[in-house]
């Protein structure tokens, strides 16, 4: 629901540039800690709606993870089901215009080579390397107007990037954002973990890096 709300606002953006629209960061507990638009023409949601969006996504993410098929651990040696490591869940929403054209998740999408979780050299040899390794959960949502890509770090923080659906190399952008976060949020003594991110240097570097890309 809230996701399509958001897309409605994004439709106002007629600019066809392959753009990054906005970024949301969700902490381990599902709380919204950062939200920022990168285009001035965007219709903003209320703060409360953003909080709900973050919480809802967090919940859906957990559910998609919990419905991931789990294969018996004991079978790793006898039954090398290599496909089982692909715990990626993908979900397609109908476009906000109401036309029910479910975007079929393409093979490239579900086997996203840029998915850092599936990209580990070690994980390919194991179906479930250690019991504590969580399934990845929802990684992207797509409408015909925008794409939401979720990157969950191994520590449980989620970066949600709203982009043009045709934007390429989202993983590069995501990786850079994570680095900037590691630098300007994590190394800031005035930032308290799990709390809202109010770091002027993070805003500044994020903004100038994204501007510089285009």
């Amino acid at each position: 629901m809230y996701v399509s709300n958001c897309s409605t606002s994004l439709r106002a953006q007629t600019n066809k540039t392959r753009a990054v629209y906005s970024l949301i960061i969700i902490n381990k507990a599902g709380g919204l800690v950062y939200q920022r638009e990168f285009h001035s023409g965007l219709h903003k949601l209320s703060t409360n709606d953003y909080l709900v969006l973050a919480g809802t996504f967090h919940g859906v993410h957990a559910i998609t993870r919990s419905i991931t098929p789990r294969l018996p651990l004991a079978s790793t040696t006898t039954n090398p089901t290599t496909a089982s490591h692909s715990t990626t869940a993908s979900l397609s929403l109908t476009s906000p215009s109401g036309t029910t054209t479910p975007t079929a998740s393409t093979p490239t999408a579900s086997n996203n080579p840029n998915n850092p979780a599936a990209n580990t050299p070690s994980s390919s040899a194991y179906s479930y390397p250690i019991p504590s390794v969580p399934a990845s959960g929802l990684e992207f949502l797509e409408t015909d107007k925008f794409r939401l890509t979720c990157f969950q770090t191994q520590t449980g923080t989620k970066f949600l990037l709203f982009t043009d659906p045709f934007m390429a190399n989202i993983d590069v952008v995501m990786k850079k954002i994570y680095e900037l976060y590691a630098d300007f949020v994590m190394k800031n003594p005035f930032y308290q973990l799990e709390m809202p991110v109010r770091c002027e240097a993070f805003d500044r570097h994020l903004g100038s890096w994204l501007r510089g890309r285009i």
Binding site: A62, I63, R65, S66, P116, A117, N119, T120, P121, S122, S123, A125, Y126, P129, I130, P131, S132, V133, P134, T153, Q154, T155, T157, K175, Y178, E179, Y181, A182, D183, M186, K187, L193
Partner: protein, 192 residues
Amino acid sequence: MSSTTKTARIGEELWKTRVDKVNAELVTLTYGTIVAQLCHDYDGDYTEVNKQLDKMGYNIGLRLIEDFLARSNVGRCANFRETADMVAKVGFKMFLNISPTVTNWTSDNNQFSLIFEENPLADFVELPDDGRAQDELWFSNILCGVLRGALEMVQMQIDAHFVSDVLRGDDTTEMRVSLVRYIEDEMPPDEE
């Protein structure tokens, strides 16, 4: 090529290409001034200083792990032995430009030692000759906390402590690391 060698190469490569550098002496002296301040604040109670250093390290570890993950791009380790190599050959390499030796595994693969040939934090350091520091102070104890904090964030509860230190007159500097448990990811809410 062994997996340890492979991991070591990842560390080398990251150090060369992905790590911003500063003068080593600035880091060494800054750490020294932190320890000295604690000794001053806790009035030479070295047990308390060890505790505070561990706590500081823990706070650093909780944050440092994000830098480690963001820059190294490495995936999850399949087991604790892999974790040990990752810590020694990639983690320590990235942050301190050293690669301690991983050794003395217990048979259940849950405990190992890190042997430090080099320790940049302790460069230039001589402990106070007060008859106590060499018996009580673990000068580099912050490293134990860093490991504990960083691994906790990737779902491993560990215990880490020094068992010897050349600053104390020992022949080696050795840290013992034990896996306490893997922290289960929060279970999906079945029914409430």
